[in-house]
């Protein structure tokens, strides 16, 4: 008994309590409990910029609370959901603190997406996906980053941070270099009793003396390739405008390999799917015949047809399950 107690972390106890009050998910309920708010940050450190893919996955009860509080209809296409997403983007960004070599760094909101999916008894759950970026003035060879997620303090749930280097060498990382939940689509049953509770990360990294040209090109001077993906309410035109604005403001370096810009343009254009007879279909879809290292669509996190919950319900409250319309391949294998 003593060992059992010792093994139960505080979040573990809280989660056990939650399951006691709100029940063990029986059918399609959220594996982390009906009122969990689950966090995920994937921090990619490039040579001149940092990029954060930030996901919030709300189970049935918090989704209902948000719907009531903000008068929001649980459908991504509605104006109320769009308004809510715009508001949450700012609120959630304000709840993140990023420091580079001891100095607070302002984040720039790059893209946003919201999806709803059925949870327990067909009740809606919600997943918000945001991408933030910031230019880093990293010209020395050793740097320190500190990241804190203050959002939904104290609320039970899965809290995961993944840190990856993109053209830099991570020397020390208090977070994980491994994506455990695959962007909150797979809550491993082993971890349910003690889900990760990582809300802060400290990282030190070094810049290699030289980077192969091809690699540097793919990084777009440190802004990771996701930067180019259009998602949420952004259109290609808006992103082009944003791109120009960022360049003017110096957030993205305007010098760099000349072929990068042309490949950026290429990436922004949806390509036409070829039918069997070689004719173009009328509906353009995004495909990744482009350089495999360049495109990592946020949308992939939302459109995986199946999420795996080992030993439990086949699907949970995250937004991955219902929308099979998009076929953007999952391209996160290299992260894991």
């Amino acid at each position: 008994m003593r060992n059992v107690k010792a093994n139960l972390s505080r979040p573990g106890i809280l989660l056990a309590l939650i399951l006691l009050f709100f029940g063990t998910p029986a059918g399609f309920a959220h594996p982390m409990g009906n009122f969990s708010v689950n966090h995920y940050s994937k921090i990619r450190i490039g040579r001149g910029a940092i990029y954060i893919r930030y996901l919030i996955d709300m189970a049935e009860i918090p989704t209902f609370q948000e719907m009531r509080q903000w008068d929001m209809t649980p459908a991504a296409s509605t104006p109320s959901a769009s308004r809510y997403l715009d508001m949450q983007e700012q609120v959630l960004m304000g709840g993140l603190t990023l420091e580079f070599d001891g100095q607070t760094v302002a984040l720039d909101a790059i893209s946003r997406q919201i999806t709803f999916a059925d949870g327990a008894g067909g009740l809606p759950t919600m997943k918000i996906g945001l991408v933030f970026g910031a230019k880093l003035d990293a010209d020395g060879d050793g740097h320190k980053l500190s990241y804190i997620d203050h959002n939904f303090a104290g609320r039970a749930g899965w809290k995961e941070i993944v840190v990856l280097g993109d053209g830099v060498t991570i020397a020390d990382n208090s977070a994980s270099g491994v994506d455990r939940s695959q962007e909150l689509t797979n809550y491993s049953s082993d971890a349910l009793n003690s889900p990760p509770q990582q809300l802060a990360a400290r990282v030190s990294y070094k810049m290699p003396l030289s980077v192969p040209l091809k690699r540097a090109s793919a990084q777009l001077n440190g802004i990771p390739s996701d930067r180019k993906v259009i998602s949420g309410t952004n259109t290609a035109k808006q992103m082009d405008t944003r791109e120009r604005r960022l360049r003017r403001s110096g957030r993205i370096s305007s010098h760099g390999p000349t072929n990068t810009q042309s490949s950026l343009k290429l990436n922004l254009r949806p390509t036409l799917k070829r039918g069997t007879g070689g004719k173009h279909t009328s509906q353009p879809i995004y495909r990744t015949h482009l350089d495999a290292g360049q495109v990592e669509p946020l949308a992939a996190a939302f459109n995986r047809p199946h999420c795996r919950v080992s030993g439990r319900a086949p699907c949970h409250g995250a937004g991955a399950r219902q929308d099979h319309r998009s076929r953007i391949p999952c391209r996160f294998a290299r992260d894991r």
Binding site: L14, L17, I18, F21, F22, G23, T24, P25, A26, G27, A29, N34, F35, E60, I61, P62, F64, Q65, R68, Q69, A120, G121, L123, F152, A153, G154, R155, A156
Partner: protein, 231 residues
């Protein structure tokens, strides 16, 4: 401990007990809600609302959500109150989907609001099938009372009071049930004891108890005067 102090009307000790809980763990949702209840009893509704909101942001425990709704009701913020009550129902619905036994609280919630009374009765009876403690008998009694089954409510209430528990909420229920059965002397005694134990035992029920007690006292006084006149 805080809850026990509160029940006995000792708001000061209840406050320090909950405050020390929060000092140890600022996210202790039970202590936050407990202190919120104390603040509501002290008439500091704004602080109570903030504390309840903090507690619910950590764990939306349905009892506390309903209590927040009651504070909003008292403040006349009916839209906000309704949002909380809807959330309690929503949680109740999810609990049902998950086949969880959290029936007693939900039954009391429905009874307090005078909604879904048949469902509340079923919930209370189901709960009694697995739990036989005085609070389950109390829940059943209160739900029966709200369903207009006063005589059965009286019988259930007797079992709830079998241990002579000095809980003002129980005494309030007993008083109201006796009042419905025209046992006015008993009703007066129970309501008086409830308010004496803790004049602020519930943000809404305490007022109902005081009004009912005044009505009963007036009618008993009138009866006494008319019997004296007849002599």
């Amino acid at each position: 401990m805080g809850e026990r102090y509160f029940q006995s009307g000792d708001l000061e000790d209840a406050e320090s007990s909950y405050a020390s809980g929060i000092a140890v763990d600022p996210n202790h949702y039970r202590s936050l809600a407990g202190l919120a209840k104390v603040r509501a009893a002290q008439g500091k509704s704004e602080q109570a609302i903030q504390l309840y909101q903090r507690s619910i942001a950590i764990v939306p425990f349905p009892v506390y959500v309903a209590e927040l709704g009651d504070v909003y009701t008292k403040e006349g913020k009916l839209r906000e109150a309704e949002q909380q009550y809807e959330l309690v129902e929503y949680i109740g619905h999810i609990s049902e989907l998950n086949r969880v036994l959290a029936n007693r609280e939900l039954a009391l919630f429905y009874a307090d609001r005078g909604i879904k009374l048949r469902e509340a009765l079923e919930l209370a009876r189901n709960e009694l099938a697995v739990r036989h403690d005085i609070y389950t008998w109390d829940a059943l009694a209160w739900v029966l009372y709200k369903n207009g089954q006063f005589s059965e409510a009286g019988q259930a209430m007797e079992k709830a009071l079998s241990l002579h528990t000095n809980d003002p909420q129980l005494l309030f229920h007993a008083g109201m049930i006796c009042h419905s059965l025209a046992r006015e002397v008993d009703a007066e005694d129970f309501l008086r004891r409830a308010l004496k134990t803790n004049p602020h035992f519930h943000v809404l029920d305490a007022e109902v108890a005081a009004h009912t007690l005044a009505d009963i006292s007036r009618s008993l006084g009138a009866d006494l005067r008319s019997s004296n006149a007849q002599r």
